[in-house]
């Protein structure tokens, strides 16, 4: 598993796609893109379309799966040589947390961790993209605080179990954990 994070427009998605492509050539597996964004409005629609266009224009074939929640359900679709790119964890958490009748508690964290585990077991490499949002003043809003705390716990878990972790700054990936070949 590879974890990639960075600020907004830091180039983290591009870097993730590059890594995924390299891995798929090495594993001779298919490239799968797990999109967590909901097509909720025109702006999201355009963003998704831009990402799709970018992937189409690469020389590789990407299969896109739109899965805003319960990512583990996708696991059965993949095989041991497949490369999975999940973009991104913050949107997934957003969708999970704001789903009607969801209570932010340990079970929510466990179910997301389980989903990650199921995907990880059914592929060659799982690449998770997320955002750096924990370095700003904490607002007093309870829900925002819960969101940040949950994301922090998930990031710590993912980094601790990942083979590699990268922080992307202005398009430059910084290896925070693991080794480069």
């Amino acid at each position: 598993m590879i974890f990639i994070t960075g600020g907004v427009r830091s180039g983290k998605s591009n870097f993730a796609e590059k890594i995924a492509t390299e891995k798929s050539i090495a594993s001779n597996g298919k490239l799968n893109y797990i999109a967590t964004g909901l097509r909720s409005d025109l702006e999201m629609e355009r963003r998704i379309e831009k990402h799709e266009r970018d992937r189409q224009h690469s020389n590789q074939f990407w299969k896109t799966w739109e899965q805003p929640r319960n990512i583990g359900k996708l696991a059965e679709n993949f095989t041991a040589s497949d490369i999975l790119l999940l973009d991104c964890l913050t949107t997934l958490l957003n969708n999970e947390l704001f789903y009607p009748d969801t209570h932010p508690d340990d079970r929510l964290i466990d179910s997301i961790i389980d989903g990650i585990g199921q995907l990880r077991e059914n592929c060659h490499t799982l690449i998770i993209v997320s955002n750096e949002i924990l370095n700003e003043p904490i607002q007093d809003n309870e829900l925002v605080l819960t969101y940040k705390k949950t994301l922090g716990i998930l990031h710590q878990y993912i980094v601790s179990t990942a083979n590699q972790a990268f922080l992307v700054e202005s398009g430059v990936p910084i290896l925070m954990k693991g080794v480069t070949k």
């Binding site: 600020g7 750096e132 370095n135 700003e136 904490i138 940040k148 716990i153 710590q156 980094v159 972790a165």
Partner: protein
């Protein structure tokens, strides 16, 4: 003096506890702004040689309720000087400062929030300057930057 910073919920406390191997021991004092502990001045009153001061950004917020920006920074700096003297008195005396990085979001709309962010940044610079070691904790991984 050892200064540890990093984003919120990044595992700073866990890293510090592991690094100093304090779990199961009682030779230290953990002073936390998050537990509403007041900002200390005289450290000799704790009667311990290993002191952890956690949540310094919250204490700085408290200083700003009583004084202006410059006075708050000066007040923090006075403490750093005093604490360093306390450390120098005995080679086993050690103080560990832990502060959440709040410097990287968009400029806050509220003036008090902007002021808090600015003063916290200055106080962190002063703390890092006084410290002989500084670590940045990123999701449980430390990067020694001084």
């Amino acid at each position: 003096m050892h200064f540890i910073t990093g984003g919120a919920f990044n595992g700073k406390k866990s890293w510090v506890k592991k690094h100093y191997q304090i779990e199961g021991h009682s030779h230290y004092q953990w002073v936390s702004a998050y537990q509403q502990d007041p900002l200390p001045f005289d450290l000799s009153t704790f009667g311990k040689q290993l002191l952890f001061l956690e949540g310094i950004e919250q204490w700085i917020k408290g200083l700003l309720l009583e004084m202006d920006m410059d006075e708050s920074r000066r007040s923090w700096h006075e403490r750093l000087v005093k604490w360093q003297r306390w450390e120098d008195k005995n080679r086993l005396n050690r103080i560990i400062l832990i502060g959440t990085d709040i410097s990287k979001g968009i400029v806050p709309l509220e003036k008090t929030e902007r002021t808090w962010r600015d003063v916290t940044g200055w106080c962190y610079q002063d703390s890092a300057e006084k410290a002989e070691r500084v670590d940045l904790v990123w999701y449980g991984i430390n990067q020694r930057i001084k």
